[in-house]
Amino acid sequence: MKSVGLFFLIFLAAGCSPLALKPADFSWPIESELKVNSRGMVQEDRYSISFNVKPLFYEETKDSSDVANHTIRLIRDERGFYFITAAHFKNVYVFSQNDGSLSLEKAIAVSKDGLSSPAFNQRAPYIELLSGKDRPIMLTKDGIQEEAKK
């Protein structure tokens, strides 16, 4: 009798949880290098995504008055988080997709002096950050993965 009750509980819980399509892989094979236009927007043609980066530049430099023609680097990891950075940034910004926006999940501090020539590589489950001759850094949405540095 007790086991029948437990079975019903599980059945009800499964019936109430939202539908999830698993597994899913959102990873982009390579990063995109995107130029900011005069309105502060970037456009990624292959994945049909565009967004405003003025708030991002303001967050990083406290100045978003002159962002046109700057270049940002964007990549998406397998879990679907967007990683963004740019030359001279001290942080990598991790965003998740939201209702008509990208929401900041975490700003990961990666360089005291700013990245000289950043580039992302897809190294699932990590995102690899390169910058000139600096040692590559492995990232997830939660931050730098020390153990992956080997």
Binding site: I30, A119, N121, Q122, E128, L130, K133
Partner: protein, 417 residues
Amino acid sequence: MVGVIGTFMTFSVVAMAQEQSDYAIVQSFQEKYKAIREAIKEVKTVQECAEVSANIDELEKEFAADTALLNKSLYPDKYDDVVSEARVELRLNQDKLGIIESSVARITELEEQVRSLSRAVDSMDTINDRLLASIDVMSKALEKNATTIDSLNHLVTSLRQSIRARDEAIFAMVDSMFMQYDKNIQGLPDQEKKILVGKMERHNVVSNIMEAAKANLKFLETTQLSGKDLAGMVKEQRQFSSYWNGLGPKLANVYVSSKDRAKQIAAIDTVIAQWGRKTDSTLWTDLNGEFSSKQIPVQPFHSADEFVANLSKYFDDQINDSKSSNEEKAKNLNHFADDVWNPSINSQWLPTLVDGGVITKDQENQLQTKFASWQSAVKPSHMFLYAGIFIIILIVIIVIVIRGRKKPQAGEPNPRA
């Protein structure tokens, strides 16, 4: 030779562990691919088709390790498809121009050889510079013990092999370039001559030959070669010079409109001549030293003819010596034979000088015959000795045979019983 070059190529491969951006790899592929597609549209001659074909091969080799990345990144295209497309387009253009595929394949092979040799030459440059610097440091070292001398000798041998391999690679590279043009270079149309000049410039042919001649000269000045090594260097100088004599006029013809290059080509002549003079003078000094160090009064010589003449004269003087006693004559001969002729001149110098083209085989024979005459004049000929021994052995055999045939007489005990 390919083996030697291969060894040096392996030597020079430095594992660059630095991480590369995938984006940069894809960009680099796309740029190179785009350039190839544009070049395909421009091809007019069989050499141009071969060059583009070699570029496609090189592109495939360069990005072989990134196939998976490129397959994902070139969306909606696939890496293999885009490479095939380029090949098909090139083939269609060849057909339109009436160029036969087998000619393109043959020239492509030569072109690939040129590129691989050019890379070998570049990598050997670095190796040679490093070896030369190490030799320089070790030669100047104040303390020289057995270990440093061994290391120095090892470095000198390595450098010499590397310089020779580099020389061979350069000339093989130039050969492969000229072989792509069946016609006489003089008869080449201006357009083709321009392409050939472009290719020579890309692979630094003239500067590489100049560097090769200078490296040999510097090697000779830095190291103290002697004996066989020195004679070997003479041979290399002769070969280099002879190859250059064939190549120089061809290059002058190709670069007829470039004054700077014409000057450089003339300068190569000067350096090769300087190298030749230096090897010759070092060689004769060393060879004169073989006699003077053993107090053998051969007149000093400064050329191959002088060497043969003066040594022959020394033999003649010894043969016609009427003043010395027989004992003195035998002593002189033994001193010459044991200290100079057998261990050095006849066993090492003469074969190497002949091999290096410094003296002729006839001149070698002339010296050996003279020496034999000197020996005959001082000691009884070995022929008489051998004949005497032969006759004695013959007599002994005859006696044994006669005794063996003699039957035992009655009453005598039978030895077999």
